[in-house]
Structure formats: C-alpha cells, structure tokens
Symmetry: C2
Subunit: 204 residues, 2 copies
C-alpha cells in the first residue's frame, strides 16, 4: 500500500511530506544533478531502502516536489474562484496568496522553476499542462476584469497575465528571509502594483 493511498496512516503521510521538503532543500542547495537518493535519506534520518517505500527514483522525488507546488496553487485558485467579489479584487487576493506561498516555500519554488526541465518527457509534459491550466485561470480573471470595465479591453490579457505571474514568480530569486521584510507587506505591495497597473494601463 502506497503512502498516497487514502488508507495510508497519518505518520506515513507526515513522513512523505518531510521527505519532499528535505529533497527540495537539497536539490536547491546542491543542484539536482549532484544530489543522490542517499543524501535525501540521510537528511531525513532514514535508510535509503525505507525511502523507496515513498518514491521510485530520484526523478520521482523531483516530480513530487513539483506536484506539491501545483497542489497548493490549485487550492489557492479554488479559494479565489469561490470569492464573491469583483474580478480585480479576486486577482489581488490570488496574487497576495501566491506571493506568500512562494516566500514560505522558497526551496520548492526555486526547484519548481529551475529544474522542471530535468523531468522525464512525459512528466515534464504533465507539469507544462498543469501550468497552462493555471495560467489560463489568471488570464480568465483579467478577461473578466476587462468585461466588467475594470481593465482596458484593448490590453492583451495573455501578456498581462504572464507579466503579473512573472513579478510573483521572480520573488524566489531575490527574497531572503533574513532581510526581515514582512512577507505580507511584500505580498500587498506586489498585488497593489499589478492591480493598480492593470487599472491604469492603456488609459493614458
């Protein structure tokens, strides 16, 4: 029985999460190519053989890290979709949530963006497909804002969405917790710039 089965025990699920978090940290610090399954087992303090209860290979470990990022992103989008608010307000909530997630999960997010190209082709396609669906939701929010008159309908909603995601995603490259900036202040400022900029753009 796999730890991913609904029958898996809570300790097995907690351990799986610990393994994924440790793998993300080590991939990010040492690079995927220079990390072994043994390194991850040692970091978690279990035998390499026990690790294979949770994963099939190092590439499987990479895939779990990436899946984890997507799962959280999906939850956030579902929450935002359920909000009863104008489109730009929902977009702002989504952007704030996404920035806060990224700042709390720096290693995973760095591995997500830096290393997804190292997956085997089939799984890489799966991640690309998930990412497209995700981007599609953000494009949809901007199109709704255009239909509602909040954003100039002449703007290219795809370019605007990719640009917004860029500002959000790039945070992992520069944010360092030790600098002491508040995560929620950073999230607010980014959401403000994007939403304020979308309201203003194209309207001279």
């Amino acid at each position: 029985m796999s730890y991913r089965s609904p029958m898996a025990t809570e300790p097995a699920k907690a351990r799986a999460r610990e393994i994924i978090d440790a793998a993300a940290e080590i991939f990010q610090q040492r690079g995927y190519a220079d990390t072994s399954v043994q390194d991850v087992a040692s970091a978690v303090g279990i035998l390499k053989g026990s690790l294979y209860y949770y994963i099939d290979s190092k590439e499987d470990l990479l895939f779990r890290v990436l899946e984890d990022v997507h799962e959280d992103a999906r939850h956030l989008l579902d929450e935002v979709a359920a909000m009863d608010a104008p489109p730009l307000e929902r977009l702002a909530a989504y952007l704030r949530g996404h920035v806060e997630f990224n700042l709390r999960n720096l290693a995973k997010v760095a591995v997500y963006y830096h290393d997804f190209g190292l997956l085997a082709p089939e799984r890489r396609e799966e991640i690309i497909e998930q990412r497209k669906q995700y981007e599609h939701c953000v494009v949809g929010l901007i199109e709704e804002a255009q239909a509602a008159g909040e954003v100039d309908p002449a703007l290219d909603a795809h370019v605007a969405a990719y640009s917004a995601l860029g500002m959000v995603n790039w945070t992992y490259t520069w944010y360092r917790p030790r600098r002491g900036e508040s995560q929620s202040e950073i999230a607010d400022l980014i959401a403000d710039i994007i939403v304020g900029g979308l309201r203003a753009a194209g309207r001279g």
Copy 2:
C-alpha cells in the same frame, strides 16, 4: 593578441560575437552540462583549435555570454541616466528598453538567469556584483520618484525594484516569437503596468 584588444580586427570581433551567440543558443537548447566546446565550434563552422583563440574554456564561454548581457544592460542604464525627464519617465524608458533587449536576446538571457550559478566562484561573484550595481540603479530611480512625489515614499523601494525587474526578467520564460505579439507592444504594456502600479500603490 586577443580579440578583445582594441587592436583586434573587425572580422575577429565579429567572429567573437558569432561564437558568443552560438554558445548561448546551444547552452539554452541542450543545457550547459551537455554542451562541449566542440559543439560550439561545429555550430560556428570553425576548428575547435581556432575557438581557443577566442576563449580559454567552456566556462569562459559561459562567462562571455553573461558579460554580453551585462554590457547591454549598462548601455541602457547610461542612456536612461542621460535623459532629461522626470524619474518615472526615465524608469519607463528603461523598462521598455530592457524588455525589448530580453525579447531580442532570449537565449542569452535564459542562460544568464538559469546558468550563472555554474560559473567558477570568483566569476560568479563578479556577475553578482554587477547585478547588484544594476539593481541599485533601478532602486535609485524609484527613490528619485519618491523624492519627486511621483511614488508614495512609504513604499519599500527595494521590494518595488526587485518586483519590477521580475516582471521584466520573467519574459524570457514565456515569450515565443512565433506567437507574433509585437515586441514593442509587450514592452509598452509592461512599462505601463509597472509605472501605473507604482503611481497607484499605497495610495488607496
């Protein structure tokens, strides 16, 4: 005599440029680890021995690609610094120029952001130092805009600058020339969002 000497002939300089461009393309497509100096020599159509007139090693080739990106970035900042215009107008000009450069130089920019960590430590430090100076100029423009009353002085100018650069830098991950969006329209939209967003942020 090196091709970088002021005495180098124009053909030598043109060839050096061709080598750097080819290296960027191959690093981006195949990955730095899986590229050999021979691959680059073959792409340019010269003997591997001749390539060593221009570079000392594969890592040297990577460094040249990154230096090239910085050199263009510096030129742009110098141009913007010489403009007689309010700070946010200079920032907009800089952002437009930077986006257009990135879209025209996708391979180089991708290698710049993805692979600079693969440089030997000393050169990596050099690139990090250059990047800091560069970011510092963008922070400076935002601080000037705050002093001039164009931007809320309560905003964290560093977070705003890194965020603006994020939207600009991320373009290499999503822009594909075949989609046919105009490069200057993308540059205008990104500059509009950032500058409009900075004017609005923190002011309710």
